[in-house]
Symmetry: C2
Subunit: 425 residues, 2 copies
Amino acid sequence: MSKSLTAEIISVGTELLLGNTTNTDARDISVYLSELGINVYYHTVVGDNPERLTKAVEIARSRADIIITTGGLGPTCDDLTKQVLAKAFDLEMCYHEELAEEMRRYFKEIIGVEHMTENNLQQAYLPAGCTVFHNEWGTAPGCAFEAEGVRVIMLPGPPRECNAMFKNCAMPYLSALSDEVIFSHSLHIFGRGESDVEAMLRDMMNELKNPTLAPYAKEGEVMLRVTAKAATEEEAEKLTLPVVERLRAVLGDIIYGMDVKSLEGVVLELLKEKHMTISTAESCTGGFIAKRITDLRGASEVFMGGAVTYSSESKTAVLGVKRETIERYGVISGEVAKEMAENARRVFGTDIAVSTTGLSGPDGDGINRVGTVYIALATPDKVFVQMENSGFGRARSRTMATNLALDMVRRYLTGLPVVVDYFGR
Amino acid sequence: MSKSLTAEIISVGTELLLGNTTNTDARDISVYLSELGINVYYHTVVGDNPERLTKAVEIARSRADIIITTGGLGPTCDDLTKQVLAKAFDLEMCYHEELAEEMRRYFKEIIGVEHMTENNLQQAYLPAGCTVFHNEWGTAPGCAFEAEGVRVIMLPGPPRECNAMFKNCAMPYLSALSDEVIFSHSLHIFGRGESDVEAMLRDMMNELKNPTLAPYAKEGEVMLRVTAKAATEEEAEKLTLPVVERLRAVLGDIIYGMDVKSLEGVVLELLKEKHMTISTAESCTGGFIAKRITDLRGASEVFMGGAVTYSSESKTAVLGVKRETIERYGVISGEVAKEMAENARRVFGTDIAVSTTGLSGPDGDGINRVGTVYIALATPDKVFVQMENSGFGRARSRTMATNLALDMVRRYLTGLPVVVDYFGR
């Protein structure tokens, strides 16, 4: 196709409007459509109400080349999507005996029910002339048809079925329509806020057309997506590369990874690569660093364990932090952070260890400003210590301290300066 | 108000259309609107594009009494929601020096930056004559105005800010439109899935009109909301009470709290009440229990610390679990869980301690089924142990094990049987 196609997703279900469920179907489909280079300009959510669904379809067909519906294909009297769409595009509904047969088999073999109830047969009716999307993940079939210049795709609502059917049936159907493909690289950044990053890149973002450059804020992080369109994936990727280079030149080592999942994911891979092990000694972060590392499959290869030494006594009892150090410097101090990390490294027998001690608040301790945290990284040669105060509330300052600890590990493992004054304090 | 008002939520953000984020704002607001008795007929998502946002607003004002926007209030050039809405309703934008001052203070005191960048000032402009919603949770203020018979509410996009501002600013604003007040009680349940709970309560839910009864599924938990309308809050609450009684009779002790924030919150309060202390010894949950307890302010009163003993060696080195026990019963066993909890209790010098050891997967160990977890609770008199296998994947089984551990503590502290076969395995 010469011009980009546009799609609109209409999600049908009163439970969405009541806030009982989150519209993950629209998100999942949007990711796939973006990969296909199909522009999505609107998502609409509408209840199980034929009049309002009809109106939503009227609006969508006036502004999109492709309408994708999710939900309302099931066997209950609330399930009206197919009937409404067929009527809107003036199509008859046709009975498919082979679909009824598939459903009977599904009930017998998968659910273990001999006779499925009659209402299930409603699912075997589809608009005349459509391409059937068989449902291998549930019972309600989906379909696609073209009518009056618009392509309509209907998918079941349950996220697992919707996602699988989009990927396996709708994706090939839509790919066949396009002669362009899309490719994107994501750069992940820690150490600068979104508005800072945007200020640094504004001119570049405005100037770029293909590829495009867009920033996304994540909890304490920023993600930059560079997206290009071309005839082949190779050509599209090639278009992104000079932009990636420019971004690397501008942003330098605050980019912690490209096309990666998370900071802890990068740390885990680096540790595996270098055959190094890690342990944690956490006070103010209360187990959050350990939790994030162990969220990842394969963590047990490199993560041996951690101590959550929340009370002063436990810092001494479990990690052997000297009472004297605590008395002399205070429990929230670089010296205590240093001993915590050094001792965790020894207790858990790991190559490196990170520690945190700080004041998450909301109550102060009369000495440190709320939010103050000391983070230490003990390595075979040296212990690095840094102080930070993000100034955020309890939850965000804990997240920030966790990010900083992981970033110190990342910087150490990649040979960068470990202690950086990211926030210019 | 005599007739029910209708609202439409317009969420603004290209990241939503690219599938980079899920529209949880629309879900959260929908829950609140449903409590207020305001009907939601449509959600719309539109990108950071003034023409398309203008069109979405035109459609919304033709079919809703209230338009609620989320997103696009920030300091970047993509943030256009206020400008577009002001233009659509023919309002000037006015500069609020006091908002600029609040932002400068926020940057100085909270972020620790002496001079905020100029682009932040964009956030101090709001449509003329609006009600300002001060943002105590971030920088971008929200607002509400009435124009041409439509009420417009604009909220920031970040879920935490959006949710807090809706609850604290938009909720009172909308309540004031009605001469009825609403009151709800929330019952929090752990130990039964949503469809189970719904099956138990279906007749009751269908029969009830005022109050209404609605279930919401949360990660491994269910929340039931009983909502009544009346002329005064006292009358509305009175209407909810017989229903709460009936629910307590039907559901019994799987209700872990009413109008509470979380299971860990209930546990923390119980520990404070009883002047008892707790520690944790975590293997498969990897610090998640400690993290959830220390998420709460005031945790340091009762939580002394925890050990994350991920490797077998660390179970011995840090907690003193006997090698023999590990060799004889396997590291994933009730016996190891028992020793972990007992020893944590001793090491941290706490009244009670909980432990977990299990197989989060995705890889198996050749002995246990993936998802198997043993949880122990050591108390002054006795150690309780239970085995569970939720059959979920890594993330959900870790959450479930964390919930189960916290629930054992809750049951112990309230004098209920500690080990319950919730899932009938």
